[in-house]
């Protein structure tokens, strides 16, 4: 089992969800995060005082998959989340030791 983690631009979520549904992935976990890589932040001004904000709002998507599906999921995310501009994000894959479905107690690949 693998955990595919992707950090993407928030407005690309709908495209990524549709694409993943299309290849048969029906579950994911979403977190709102702040991040930066090569994308520059911005300045906000409140009552004349300037504040630099390095971080940019992003979404973190996590999908648990079977070993054989990991690459397809990564490709799907990369295709649907990209805009060609700096700040599109990154995808990475982690190995998962154990996974359990809470409702039924199934362990291993059946839980994915």
């Amino acid at each position: 089992m693998k955990l595919v983690v992707a950090v993407i631009k928030p407005f690309k979520l709908d495209d990524v969800k549709e694409k993943l549904k299309g290849i048969g992935v029906n579950g994911m976990t979403l977190t709102e995060v702040q991040g930066f890589g090569r994308q520059r932040g911005h300045t906000e001004v409140y009552r004349g005082a300037e504040y630099e904000i390095d971080f940019v709002p992003k979404l973190r998507i996590e999908v648990l998959v079977d070993d054989t599906e990991a690459n397809a999921v990564v490709d799907a995310i990369v295709e649907s989340a990209g805009t060609g501009k700096i700040g599109d994000g990154k995808v990475w894959v982690l190995p998962v030791e154990t996974a359990v479905r809470v409702r039924t107690g199934e362990r291993g690949p059946e839980a994915v």
Partner: protein, 466 residues
């Protein structure tokens, strides 16, 4: 023949229109404090200080209510105490501390040292309530300079002392028939007594208490701009009670003061927006800039709302906003302003704006704007009360009196406030919360936070609390 029974449920001196408007105007002003200032300031502060800010606003207001009815009202507006030779300053600067809460005190006809010519047509309760909400908003204004480090207990002690020894005296001198009023200085609704005094006290307090934590200053983003909008809207429209109630009659002066208030405010708001778009590096209009402009307009028209005409109000709004915009953006970088951490910039938006508005009366007051006539004659006949500024009379007299009164307010308020701060510092063993407390904010002082997340909290059932 049936006799008609006429039942007049109030005394003959009572005018229901005056009474109704005065009570309404007072309530509008009260709303400006609660929730107006509470949520305006709460929304401007970062999240960790919202509760502390709002509780200081509510508790400050409540303390003033008590001080006012137990001794403050009579100190400011009661018969003046003869503490020196007749006619000298010492017999014309304060009244006797005395409660007004007896049945007679609350229900008899309102009188005041200021108003010897014309009686007022409502009871003391009405007038005392009206003056109370003005007294009560003043500490809430200078609270804005002191937020996010002023020790809460010190606040609770400071407010009653400041009202007693600063506000009541300034009010008696300018409104209660006192020394400066007799010399002809005027302050329609409190540009000097309230706003200039608040600006000075906030600045002095910020200097004595010391700055916010560097970390707080570096992360001073507003927690809720929509709440700022709510508070600001209440402030603007509530101010119609502030200036509309200060002629003390529901007559033409009230109406013109209300209109002038809105003219000056609108002009000031747009001026600040225009300056942001023209003269800042980003060239962008900002909501908080607009609110600053709005406040400057409201404050600067306050000393003269019923004595300038609409053109005067327009000029005051534009000029005050422009000058305070420059002060906010440039004077703030120069000593001593750069050395004092006035958290919400009260010295600019209330102090400087109030000073400018008060001096503007000496220039722009139009003698054709009648405040009230004398009883028995037509209201604009000879003997009616109005104020003439330099551009109408050619005389510098009014401007000079305005300047003297401003000098008193600045010097006396500054010194007396400083003394009170040091007394409170001694009694409370310090004016600042401890650094460990400042790091945390609301949770450390109140065990409450502004936006608790119920998912992450669990009720604790213990023997001491059900």
């Amino acid at each position: 023949m049936l006799e008609a029974v006429t039942n007049i449920p109030y005394p003959s001196w009572l005018n229901t229109g005056d009474n109704a408007w005065q009570l309404t105007a007072a309530t509008l002003v009260g709303l400006m404090s609660l929730p107006g200032i509470a949520v305006l300031y709460g929304g401007l502060m970062q999240r960790k200080w919202v509760v502390n800010t709002m509780l200081m606003a509510f508790s400050g207001f409540a303390l003033v209510v008590l001080v006012w009815v137990l001794w403050g009202y009579n100190m400011a507006f009661g018969p003046l105490a003869h503490l020196g030779a007749d006619g000298s300053f010492w017999s014309n600067f304060v009244g006797h501390p005395h409660p007004i809460v007896s049945h007679f005190g609350e229900q008899n006809q309102a009188v005041s040292g200021a108003n010897t010519l014309i009686p007022w047509h409502y009871p003391t309760s009405t007038l005392a309530y009206f003056q109370l909400v003005f007294a009560a908003i003043t500490p809430l204004l200078f609270l804005g300079s002191l937020l996010s480090r002023f020790k809460f207990k010190a606040w609770l002690l400071f407010v009653p002392l400041w009202i007693t020894f600063v506000y009541c005296i300034n009010a008696a001198l300018l409104w209660g028939g006192g020394f400066f009023a007799q010399k002809g200085a005027v302050d329609y609704s409190g540009g000097y007594v309230i706003h200039l005094a608040a600006g000075v006290t906030g600045f002095v307090g910020a200097a004595i208490i010391g700055p916010r934590l560097a970390r707080d200053k570096n992360h001073a983003l507003p927690s809720n701009l929509m709440m700022v909008a709510v508070g600001s809207g209440i402030l603007w429209l509530g101010w119609n009670g502030f200036n509309g109630g200060d002629p003390f009659y529901a007559g033409v002066s009230a109406a013109s003061a209300v209109l002038n208030t809105n003219i000056a405010t609108a002009a000031a708001l747009m001026t600040w927006v225009a300056f942001d778009m023209l003269f800042t590096r980003e060239h962008k209009p900002t909501f908080l800039g607009a609110i600053n402009g709005m406040i400057v307009g409201l404050v600067s028209i306050t000393p003269g709302a019923g004595w300038v005409d609409g053109y005067g109000a327009l000029i005051i709004g534009v000029v005050a906003s422009g000058i305070v915009w420059v002060a906010w953006n440039y004077l703030s970088k120069v000593k001593p302003f750069s050395k004092v951490d006035d958290a919400l910039g009260v010295v600019y938006t209330h102090g400087i704006a109030g000073l400018l508005g008060g001096l503007a009366v000496g220039l722009l007051a139009d003698p054709g704007m009648i405040e009230y006539g004398v009883a028995g004659k037509t209201y604009d006949a000879a003997g009616s009360f109005s104020v003439g500024g330099y551009f109408y009379t050619g005389s510098m007299h009014q401007l000079w009196e305005q300047f003297l009164a401003a000098s008193w307010i600045i010097i006396y308020t500054g010194i007396a406030s400083a003394i009170i701060f040091y007394i409170v510092k001694f009694v409370c063993r310090g004016l600042r919360e401890k650094d460990e407390v400042l790091e945390v904010g609301d949770l450390a002082i109140h065990d409450e936070e502004a936006y608790p997340r119920e998912t992450f909290a669990e009720r604790v059932t213990s023997l001491s609390r059900g």
